[in-house]
Symmetry: C2
Subunit: 332 residues, 2 copies
Amino acid sequence: MLRRSFVSIIAAGVLAALPLAAAAQAQTDPLPSWNDGATKAAIVDFVAAVTTEGGPDYVAPNNRIATFDNDGTLWVEQPMYVQLAFALDRVKAMAPDHPEWKDKEPFKSVLAGDMKSVAASGKKGLAEIIAATHAGMSTEDFEKIVTDWIATAKNPETGKLNTAMIYEPMLELIDYLKANGFDVFIVSGGGIEFMRPWTETTYGIPPENVVGSSIKLKYEESDKGPVIMRLAELNFVDDGPGKPVGIQSHIGKRPIAAFGNSDGDFQMLEWTTTGPGKRLGMIVHHDDAAREFAYDRDSHIGKLDKAMDAAPKEGWHLISMKDDWKQVFPDQ
Amino acid sequence: MLRRSFVSIIAAGVLAALPLAAAAQAQTDPLPSWNDGATKAAIVDFVAAVTTEGGPDYVAPNNRIATFDNDGTLWVEQPMYVQLAFALDRVKAMAPDHPEWKDKEPFKSVLAGDMKSVAASGKKGLAEIIAATHAGMSTEDFEKIVTDWIATAKNPETGKLNTAMIYEPMLELIDYLKANGFDVFIVSGGGIEFMRPWTETTYGIPPENVVGSSIKLKYEESDKGPVIMRLAELNFVDDGPGKPVGIQSHIGKRPIAAFGNSDGDFQMLEWTTTGPGKRLGMIVHHDDAAREFAYDRDSHIGKLDKAMDAAPKEGWHLISMKDDWKQVFPDQ
């Protein structure tokens, strides 16, 4: 019996190591920054349902697609979109090479720090700023510009790095979904090539899993070899009804879970949750003025109105930043 | 000592199972359908170089991107592109609902089987056939149409399923690259949504790893809920200089290995192999009339001329189907 017990000990220690580890992990809370309650339960129940083999709601791993909006869903979008801050900073950095901007709107107002006049220049002015700062260089040069900028760029109100103004509970959610076989994508109205240089280090989401708005690209020869140039021509707007189209173009599968925070996410949530089988749609509600910002229906940035009204009927869960999140940022 | 020997046996059998299996696999030829020679050696040497940690050519797994053309590189493109056969079959299937086609070119000639007149209708005629057969339905309906068609569609010369007319050596190459940490993409001039329904079962390449040409899509409400409609408007041509652009849009990374077979792959090969570090560019040369087809410079389908001339200078390897492949198709 001694020999058999040795075998048993070895078998228990080695063969069973894997299931034991899995069981141990299941007992650790994968979402520690979420307060217990209906919202957290909805997430955990959904993941359990779609990953239970043989269960009525089981979804094979290759169809476990989850999509996340970025601005206001994964990182702070107040007091202005980070990409707009990037564009304004670029105007200032490029100004020495553009003496004509001193007398030319909207650049003149950007350089003077007169944000009211910049805003008054409207969509046309914004398009000119984007064209001047986002086009006319190669994709590799643009990647370097963004990488250099994001390394030091700070939120103007908190003085913290933008890449630190990210939501810890959403990072946990991304990791939790990935650990359960999900393929996680960003689907943002922001520029696809503005996001790609830092999404992997910031969120663990690689460039190929980023869907966003884009300008046209052109492959051409240069004296440094072939390059892909960024043209001052809009290609695709990945916002509102554009989000399901961006999802279809890039992923070719309908998500089973989607996370947003504004009316720009309405169609992504609708497309996701009206598909067959169990689905999860969630909206980050910015109701926490103390720890972040409080805004919804009347905000110019991240307006949440139509989607908030539709949520109960559509079965979308509102994530209350105030009530559902124990901790907002990673460093708190 | 008896007890220790038991422990040793268990330890050898259980603890060491994983590394032993890995060592065994390394000694098995991962490319059995490739004849030994310079081409196979170039593949194996490249993979060894970029996966050797600490080596001068090491590439981290997240940057091991490989791209494959489809028509003529992964499956047979003669005597006509499979997608063209699909379009012609669809015209015939849809004809009862379009009595006007009996008197309207190019549909009249398609229905009469008069391929010379269809060809004479040129790009305009082809665009009309594509619009009639590829647009006007939802993405989900189109996926079903393609799935149903590909299940029985056969090559007109061999009478075999198109999905069986795939190159066994390339399947082995895809698996070999994946086993070595590569992320493998199709980058084809063919329609992205024509390929996605069958690439996973046929090649093991999932929909999200397929890049191709596309028509515009539009999200809209229908009486069956929201749908994404396919519009009769060209969106993107993923061929020639479009391939690096498609790669950048979808993947956001520059490949380190690319495989094609025609001048339509020139820029993809160039973009891939002119990047820094070790790179691999290969061209399938159809020189095997006995087992497949023999064509290059003068072919209307899969014309290989400019890229063949450039190959020696650019360091691109020609894969001779006749000399480098022991076996062409999976069932031989």
